[in-house]
């Protein structure tokens, strides 16, 4: 056998060596290098996300500690008492509405109804005014607490300024920056001293409310008798809880430290995300997480039947001509920029859905009619549109990958086309279809523009007591809050790091979904024959 080098080749092969590599090796190294760069970039992004976000827990711990030390927690106990009373006033308002409704339907005109409700109105007014002394006390104490907190924050900034000036070597200027040590215990003494006044106010409040109950007016309409009795019971419960609040204020420990675990729990399970507040900022993930999951859920409920159904049809039942039309059309949907879809949602879809919800014969649908046109449903419909091409393509791939032996055997045994598809092909491709759905979910959870424009931007856990009617509530999402608040944060501040933490949670969620999808696909995939 002659040596390979001395054989004449059809194509003259130049034996160049570039950095000790043949051209083949060089090309292989180039591709390998690109792959490595992609992995490195991913690792760097993860590292930076974690680095910027990890500082959040320390800052949140400090945030919660200052909340306690500056006395804001103390004042919030008072405010909770005020809130409970306001909720009762709202109940009275609802009862009045019911009574007015009943009177109008009973044939009275507006003026007669107002006259009939006058004693009830006087009662409600007296009830509402009863809380004023407590509100005034709360307001005064709130001012004290806010002053302590502002002094602390300004002092922290001065410390930072001094540190920076010293670092630059301008020690003379650094000395001139005035840093006043804050003594929280001393500063909060007026709050603790107010406990006596609080007890007095509570005694007067209890007396007033009990007197009100005995002087309750007759129900303006008979249907209101029972609700008014229930209201009386609630007021008595409120009055009986006043000593508990006083005890809470007595046992309030200003110097109790806040642990890192508490800071973590406050983020992961916090029910409130409130920033730029004059009072206290809360960084709780739950409203955003439930918003994201709700919108993604609605999107999947709409997209999975459409996407998987279309995939089954196109793969199993469509003629070649239909395939040539339907497949590109569905894949063309993914060509829409999401911001265009969001704009479509604001300008057209939201209003159309609201008009549709007011159609009388549709009011059996939970949540219909609704008045907010930017809500979970609008955003969910548009996200479903975005998810359908992903689910369709991947599900169709999964159906294609079913080994041909299976449907052929089924058909040979006499099954109809429909039976083969539903009983053989679909179950065989199930793992791939599930994986497609999960990838669609991952796509939808990370979508920003559509939810920022169309989901309503209400930062609160939606009201699940309405059952399925929660679909028409406005929500805010994790992606939306990052996009909305990104521009206003100062680098390194707690708000900045909180947004990075939200981004990290989103990242981990997407990672988990993708990982699950791949695991399912790999484990249950049938070997192609």
């Amino acid at each position: 056998m002659p040596a390979p080098d001395s054989r004449p080749h059809l194509l003259a092969r130049r034996r160049l060596r570039f950095l000790g590599l043949t051209p083949d090796d060089a090309i292989r190294a180039f591709f390998g290098g690109n792959a490595v760069v992609a992995v490195i970039v991913l690792a760097l992004i993860t590292y930076f996300l974690v680095r910027e976000g990890a500082g959040f827990f320390g800052q949140n711990r400090r945030n919660l500690e200052v909340y306690r030390l500056a006395g804001l927690e103390f004042v919030d106990h008072l405010r909770a008492q005020e809130e409970a009373h306001t909720a009762l006033t709202r109940r009275l308002s609802e009862l009045r509405l019911q009574a007015f409704d009943r009177l109008s339907r009973g044939g009275a005109d507006a003026e007669a109804a107002e006259r009939a409700l006058a004693p009830f109105d006087a009662y409600a007014d007296r009830f509402g005014v009863a809380i004023d002394p407590l509100r005034a006390l709360g307001s005064e104490l709130a001012d004290v607490a806010t002053a302590i907190k502002t002094k602390f924050a300004v002092n922290e900034d001065r410390k930072e300024e001094r540190r920076q000036l010293s670092a630059e070597g301008r020690t003379a200027e650094a000395e001139r920056v005035e840093v006043v040590p804050i003594d929280f215990i001393a500063a909060a003494r007026p709050l603790l001293a107010a406990r006596d006044r609080h007890r007095e106010v509570n005694r007067a409040l209890a007396a007033e409310l009990t007197a009100l109950l005995t002087a309750a007016p007759a129900p303006p309409v008979p249907e209101l008798r029972e609700p008014l009795e229930r209201f009386g019971v609630e007021v008595r419960a409120y009055v009986s809880e006043l000593p508990a609040i006083e005890r809470r204020l007595e046992t309030w420990d200003q110097a109790r430290p806040v642990s890192l675990g508490e800071a973590l729990r406050a983020f992961l399970f916090g029910r409130q995300w409130l920033t730029a507040s004059f009072w206290q900022d809360w960084y709780g993930l739950l409203p955003l997480l439930t918003g994201s999951l709700l919108v993604a859920g609605v999107a999947l409920i709409l997209a999975v039947p459409l996407g998987v159904g279309a995939a089954i049809y196109v793969n199993q039942f469509a003629s070649a001509r239909e395939q040539r039309v339907v497949k590109p059309a569905i894949e063309f949907i993914s060509a829409f920029p999401s911001v265009v879809l969001g704009f479509f949602g604001i300008a057209v879809l939201g209003e159309v859905l609201r008009q549709v919800s007011h159609v009388p014969w549709l009011d059996w649908i939970p949540g219909f009619p609704f008045s907010e046109r930017l809500n979970v449903l609008t955003a969910g419909c548009l996200l479903a549109l975005i998810a359908v091409p992903t689910i369709f393509t991947l599900a169709e791939d999964a159906l294609n990958n079913v080994p041909r032996a299976l449907p052929e055997a089924s058909l040979a045994l006499g099954a109809s086309r429909l039976q083969t598809t539903l009983r053989i092909v679909f179950p065989a491709a199930l793992s791939g279809i599930i994986s497609a759905v999960l990838l669609g979910l991952g796509r939808v959870i990370g979508e920003t523009m559509v939810v920022l424009l169309c989901a309503g931007n209400r930062i609160a856990i939606p009201d699940f007591t309405q059952g399925l009617g929660v679909m028409v509530e406005p929500v805010h999402t994790m992606t939306g809050i990052i996009a909305q608040e990104m521009g206003e944060v100062v680098r390194g501040s707690i708000h900045y790091r909180a947004l990075f933490m939200v981004g990290l949670v989103l990242f981990l969620l997407s990672l988990g979904i993708n990982f699950l999808a791949q695991r399912i696909l790999r484990r249950y995939r049938l070997a192609p024959s």
Partner: protein
Amino acid sequence: MLLAAPALRGEKLVIKGSDTLGAKLVPTLAEEYKATRPGVAFEIAAEGSTTGISAIIEGTAQIGMSSREAKATEISAAAARGVRLNGIVVAFDGLAVIVNARNPIARLTPRQVEQIFTGDVTDWSAAGGRPGKISVYTRNTSSGTYSDWKDLAMRKRDYARSSQKLAGNEQIVAEVARNPNGIGYVGLAYLKAAGIKVLPINGVAPTRENILDKKYAYARPTYFYCNGEPAGEAARFVEFTLGPGGQAIADRLGFVPVR
């Protein structure tokens, strides 16, 4: 050559901040200013007063538009970075309460406004209107108007949990115009839209005269923030804004001039 010409002649002014100022007023001022000084390029980003103040602190803008005053914590945070936040009042703005044109309510008291926006009251019937759940539309947290409203109308309490946060004045107008149960607040320059109704507070309507006479409750100064004294092109633009030409434009757009 074409690209080099403006760079040779003028510089770029980066202005970031308030949507109240930056949506209509400052772009119009920029257009007028460019007529007298061609070659100056403007980059105006109106994403909320807080972004404007942050931009001045971080040095990414020459002028920060703000519809609220800088907070003490912002001033100290700026000082920690060696930046002196200097606020120059450029116009006065009123905040008007708007409801849907089909809402039968004709007036509100400041107490009712506070109750509605803080969520103490959730139904229109409690304020004297047709029964229906109140849909509260507010700006978002990067807005100075958001913060000012809490200060002027809500005694610094927080917004209702059920309030929806929208990105700008125009969005609030659009939502309130389409939702019969909607209520929101916008600057004076946005009152002439169809479908909305402006409510007088305690009988006082948000007109220029009432604001100048200090009879209307919800009026506030709007600022240009700079790092120390403005210099160069920024100084000339601020001077133009405070001069007769700029103030006439502010007047025309519905703001109240400083003089």
